[in-house]
Each structure stands twice: as structure tokens, then as C-alpha cells.
Symmetry: C2
Subunit: 420 residues, 2 copies
């Protein structure tokens, strides 16, 4: 039996415990939804207010130089690069994940076509995040390609072996199940078969160590508002391996990606490297908040970095799984996230045949915030930057009460919300 | 002779004068650069702080429903629609101008191709804003189209008459010269020749009356951070005439444009109307500031609306032109913005053969902020929401001093800045 006291002891000896002080956590809430929207860093309100009142309000256009607005996409990009195993100057913070995916997928298809014109397949998983599939579907329709979706990770190899796959597009950690791909192994397999790989790091950047360069990845995109704590709708990021970065003019050829953006020349001349993946003027207030969020993750560096964060993440998810099985067993809940560490991201998903939605609502009423994913999944994200072992214990205590008291039978938890 | 006293009298009887109180204007500055970055509305810091601390910090993901985050692109869109002669539900605030231009230009080309497959030309002006030309150039290259650029507005009709133009893409007010196109006449001429028209309203939305529906326009995009005062890098907007809105699945098919974005289905099904022109999650902090900016323009409605704003805008630019000619003549400055009201936006551009850059710098040193556009243009934007007649008088007084004292010969004003 694991006791609450055991969890308090684990927290007392947790080397990452001080990181929690960086965040303004709402009182009375155990927040297990940082994989949907990360929490607010304490530094953010002041930083955003400074940009609004001083940089914009007082200095106005002068801030493009004086406050370094023009450098923000690459300055923040360099910081994110440290979290995902990329080098300085290779990664840019800009636009949304969907827009960035469009850029890199277009580039990947063009490069694949130049090298092997007979390949006309984009391969992905049916369970990949929908927006990724939508972008790929639209692009495939337009380019006369085929989007092939597999149901099981094991089918990926078989498809690759066919030699017809131009681009493999995967999200490293599945948004629903929390299942983690082995980036190095999958990338190696793809390259062996002449296929380029686009990785979506939405649920891995800031959540676990990522080694884009070391693993040989080709392209990557990721999200700013989940584990990077960048705030609602924070700009996303885009990375292109230097071996590909200058092979293609991505089609969203806006002024920020021009080699000389302030020369106002009528003809497009793409900037060197990742800068050509910039497009229009970035939303600077949201960029300021993103930088604070990224800084909150970088604060881990002197404490052991992403490896230490990963150890704590696995400890938290191990604990959650163990406690759910110990204390909430026999109520129809099933752990669907893999038990193996090498297959697990920083979340745990449970399934319940009839009650998933209502159980999530009953938990929220108790101050435990997870989310529901249709048709039967309860999803809990564990952000080791601000979650304690005792939070996990308390969350499962609430879950047990919801199940034992059948609170989720309460009709008010069964209304279907417009947004879940 | 116009005196400073005359200008003070004009301000005293100006029905729009109270609107200036909405803004936090920096002390000691006459800001004639609202066509680059609009000033800070007083309401914005508190609105942004509320979103940061309450909606994000405290309510977290609940705010998608509770605070209406999910509705922001269309809610703000409906407000902008009132300023540009569109109907509710037709316009969305989202992404950057460049990205939105990519969407509508792709759609316009696809619709043109369906109706007249032999037409392969995108027509624009060489003097159009560079990012517009870059997006069109990239798209033309990809689609096997040709981007044809004319040097004079008069050449547009001749090109249209050739019957080969699929899409005419114009910025209504030229960013450099301030020259204004007659949207109704140009659109009529284009339609007579079977050509669709994409309008960029970057320098007209919030600056002068625009009648997209009444003028029969096909597509439009516009900027949030110039005359709409939405803050640095504020999201842009996109409008598609209802007759075209559902004819095409624009290629940036992200989850926000899905018919049922929270069903997480693997297949894309575009939303009805303008919603399908949404893509990824919008940058919400920047959206909040944009809404305050749009509200600052809508505050004109009870005071005569855009027609009243236009009257004041023309009075200010008329006054500037008259004073420049009266007080700064004989120093090589030439007014290059058209004198005719129907050909003028809300700015005045001057040229100076050798000193344009240095004169702008000398003026900035005196607290008069305009901007320089290579090679020889001094650009002054007049935002009637917050500029007074006396500001115009004082600005020209400074300009006269700079010219009479040859202050711009000062070597420190000749350094070439990285960003101008």
C-alpha cells in the first residue's frame, strides 16, 4: 500500500520540487491538463504588461529594434532548440502547429519528389491528432498524393518496406493514449526505406527529452501552449534539419522569411536556414508569453535538465497507474497508456465503457482537472514542473470517491458540453 | 496663412475629438506612424491582464467555453465586418495577413480555374506591398501560373481586357504612396472581364469607409495592427464573399476550420462559411488586444461612423499638404500622395532626393514619428481617431525647422538602421 505520507516524503526529497514555485497555480485545483493548456508562469503577467505598456504603448515602432521584436522568433526558437536536441539557428517560433505542419509537409513532399518522383504516399496513423491528418489530407488531395493511415504502430514498418512512402508523418506522443514512438528507431527505419520523417512534438517538447539531431529527424513542428506553458494559442515552432533547410522555398513566402525583409523588393528571395520558414508578422504579445513559458522549462537545466524531468514524469505516471489499480479497481476503469517506460509519454489515459465523460466532469467538480476524449477516454497529463507526488495521491483519492459513491451517475455530469 | 490658432479652433469644434481620450499616447510624441503600428488603447492593458491572470491563470482550459475563447475569431470578425461593409458571419480574425492571403489567393485561383481553366495570370502592381507579391509569386510558381505586375494603375484595365487574368490582387491603399484605388470601379471592370478580385485592406480597414459587399468584392484580407490598433503582430482578418465561401476547401485545413472541431474525427469536413478559413489555434493574448483595438475604432459609430472619420482624415491630410507647401517649400520636398480626395488614403508621402532617411531620423529626434521607405520616401500616417489638427501644425513646424536648420545634415541621422 502506498500512503499519502509516502507521497509527501517523495516530494520532500524531490530535487525538482522548487520549480513549482515558478507557477501561479489556482487554489483548490489539481491540474492534470497541462497537455491541453499549460499553467501560467508567475513571470508572464509582468512580461506581457511590459510589452503592452512600455514596448508597444511608449516606444511604439521603435521596439522592432530597441526591444528586439524582430529577433523574437529565432531567439525563442534557440531556447526551444535546447529542449528538443536541435542546434541554435535551426528552429523558429512562429504561426500555429497546423500552419507549420503545412510548411514542412509541403517541403518534405517536394524534396521527396525531387529524389524519388515515383513515391506518392504520405503515411500516418489513424489515431494521429486530427489537425495533422486534416493538413495532410488537404495537401495530398492537392498534390495528387495518397494519405495512407495505419491502425497500429506495427504496420508502419510494413508500409515503409513497400518503398512507396514519400513522407512519414507522426506525432511522437499520441494525444489520446499517451503512447510514445521511438524517434531514433522509427527515423532509422524510414530512412532505410528512403522515406523522410516529419515529427509533431506537441506532446513531447518540454515533457521528455527529444533528440532531433541525434535521432536524424528530417522535420519537426510542435506546440507552444502545452508543456511549454506559453499561454492560450501560443505560437508554435518549426524545425528543419540543416541538410534540408535550403533545398526548398516553402510556399508561405511572407516578408519575415525574406533574405532582406526591410529592403521591400518586389521579388522573393528566401532567407538562409530556418528563417525562410517564417511568414508574416508574429503575434508579439503571445510571443512574449511563450518566451516566459519556455524559460519555465529551461529552469530545469541546472537541476538535471530534461533527463531529470523525465525521471520525475515517469515516477508520477507510475505512481498514478499504481494508485488507480490499488484504489480504484473494480469500477470498470482500464489503463490504456502503455506500462513500459519507453512507450509512455507524460500522460496516462484511462478508459471507461460508459462513464468517461461523466467521471471527468465529476472530477472537475472536485477540483481535479483532466479531460475527456471521445468516445471513452479519461486523459490525465502530468507536468513534472509543477505537479507533486501528493497531487497524484489526492487526485486518485478523488477518483476513488467518484467511483465508490457513483458520483458520476449524477445527471448534471452527463450534459454534453460544446467543448470538452 | 494657416495659424496654429486656426488649428486649435478646428480641434475645439471637432466632433471626433473625444475619441483621442481612448488612447495612451506617449508624452512628447506626435505619432504619424499609425499606418505601421497603431497606438495602445487605454482599455487594452487591463483586458490583456484579465485574460492572462483570470481566464488563463485561474480558469485554464475552462475558458474555451466560459470566456468564449472558441468564439473569438468570429466575434472579432463580426466587429471588423462593420468597418469594411461585410455582414455578420462573413469575416474571421485569424493568422497573419500573409497566411490569409495565401488562403484566399489559393481559393481564388481554384475557383477561377473551375470557371475558366485557360486563365493563368495573377495580376498585381509592382508597387504592391512586398509580402503580397511574395505570396503570389510562390503560389504562381507552384501552380504554373504567371504573376504579371503593372507599373501604373492605368495598365490594369488593359491587362484585364486581354481576358487572360484569373485573379487581380490589389492593396486598396498603397503602403508607400498612399494612393487609393476605387474598389467599386476596379471590381466592376475586373468582373466585366471575368476576373476575380482579392483586396488587401491593410491600409484601409479602420482608416476609411470600405464597402466590400456593396462594391461586389470577391475576397479580402487585412491587418490588425495598423489602423485597427490591435497591437504588435495582432492577428489579421480574412473575408470571402458568401457566393464563394463554400466553393473551395482552402488548403490550410486545420482543426479550427472543421465542421465539428471537437469530434476529433480523422477526416476533414470543412465548416460552413468563413469558418473554414480558420486553421490552427489562434494566439489568444494577441486576439484580446486586437478586440480592444477594433472597439476603439467602433467607438466612432455614434459619432458619425467611418464617414465622419474619413472627413477628419481628409481634413488632416489636406492640412498637412497645405502646411508643407506653405512652410517647408523650397527644400526639395515633394508631395507624392495624390491631391484628389478620391485617390488618397489616410497618409501623405513626401519624397526628397537625398535626405529622406535622414529627415525622418531628425524628425524622430524631435518627437515627430513618421517612417522612411526606400529609396526616397518620407511616409506620414494620419489616424483621425487620435490626431489633432494642432498635431499636424506642430509636425510641420518641426519639419520646417529640420529643413531650415539643415538638421538632417547631422551625421548621426545618416546611419542606416537595420529596421526602418
Amino acid at each position: 500500500m502506498i500512503t499519502r505520507q509516502d507521497c509527501l516524503a517523495l516530494d520532500a526529497s524531490d530535487p525538482l520540487a522548487p520549480l513549482r514555485e515558478q507557477f501561479a497555480l489556482p487554489a483548490g485545483t489539481i491540474y492534470l491538463d497541462g497537455n491541453s493548456l499549460g499553467v501560467l508562469p508567475r513571470a508572464t503577467p509582468q512580461r506581457v504588461a511590459h510589452m503592452v505598456q512600455q514596448e508597444w504603448g511608449n516606444d511604439l515602432i521603435e521596439s522592432w529594434n530597441k526591444a528586439g521584436w524582430i529577433d523574437l522568433p529565432l531567439r525563442i526558437g534557440d531556447k526551444i532548440a535546447r529542449l528538443v536536441g536541435a542546434d541554435p539557428g535551426e528552429l523558429a517560433a512562429t504561426d500555429s502547429t497546423s500552419v507549420n505542419l503545412f510548411k514542412v509537409l509541403t517541403a518534405a513532399l517536394a524534396i521527396a519528389k525531387a529524389d524519388a518522383p515515383e513515391r506518392l504516399v504520405i503515411l500516418s496513423e489513424r489515431g494521429n491528432f486530427p489537425t495533422d491528418l486534416y493538413i495532410a489530407e488537404a495537401l495530398a488531395r492537392e498534390r495528387g498524393c495518397e494519405l495512407v493511415l495505419v491502425d497500429e504502430p506495427g504496420e508502419i514498418d510494413r508500409q515503409l518496406a513497400g518503398g512507396h512512402v514519400a513522407v512519414l508523418m507522426l506525432t511522437q506522443v499520441n494525444y489520446r493514449s499517451g503512447r510514445l514512438h521511438d524517434m531514433a528507431a522509427v527515423t532509422r527505419a524510414a530512412h532505410r526505406h528512403g522515406t523522410l520523417v516529419v515529427w509533431d512534438l506537441a506532446h513531447s517538447a518540454g515533457a521528455l527529452p527529444v533528440s532531433l539531431k541525434a535521432d536524424g529527424a528530417d522535420f519537426a513542428v510542435g506546440c507552444g501552449y502545452k508543456y511549454l506553458n506559453g499561454g492560450p494559442g501560443a505560437p508554435a515552432f518549426v524545425w528543419v534539419h540543416p541538410r534540408h533547410a535550403e533545398r526548398f522555398w516553402q510556399p508561405l513566402a511572407g516578408w519575415m522569411g525574406h533574405a532582406a525583409p526591410f529592403e521591400f523588393t518586389p521579388n522573393y528571395r528566401p532567407a538562409a536556414g530556418i528563417s525562410r520558414y517564417l511568414c508574416g508578422t508574429p503575434p508579439l504579445l503571445s510571443m512574449a508569453a511563450l518566451e516566459c513559458g519556455v524559460d519555465s522549462v529551461l529552469a530545469t537545466e541546472p537541476l538535471g535538465g530534461m533527463a531529470a524531468l523525465r525521471r520525475k514524469s515517469l515516477a508520477l505516471t507510475d505512481l498514478f497507474i499504481a494508485l488507480v489499480e490499488e484504489r480504484a479497481a473494480g469500477h470498470g476503469l482500464e489503463v490504456i497508456t502503455p506500462r513500459e517506460h519507453h512507450l509512455r509519454g507524460s500522460q496516462v489515459a484511462l478508459s471507461h465503457p460508459a462513464g468517461a465523460y461523466a467521471i471527468v466532469q465529476a472530477l472537475i467538480a472536485r477540483g481535479v482537472v483532466g479531460d475527456f476524449r471521445a468516445p471513452d477516454v479519461l486523459r490525465f497529463g502530468f507536468t513534472p514542473l509543477y505537479l507533486r507526488h501528493v497531487d497524484v495521491w489526492d487526485a486518485v483519492e478523488h477518483l476513488q470517491q467518484v467511483m465508490v459513491n457513483a458520483e458520476w451517475h449524477d445527471v448534471r455530469f452527463h450534459r454534453k458540453a460544446a467543448v470538452t
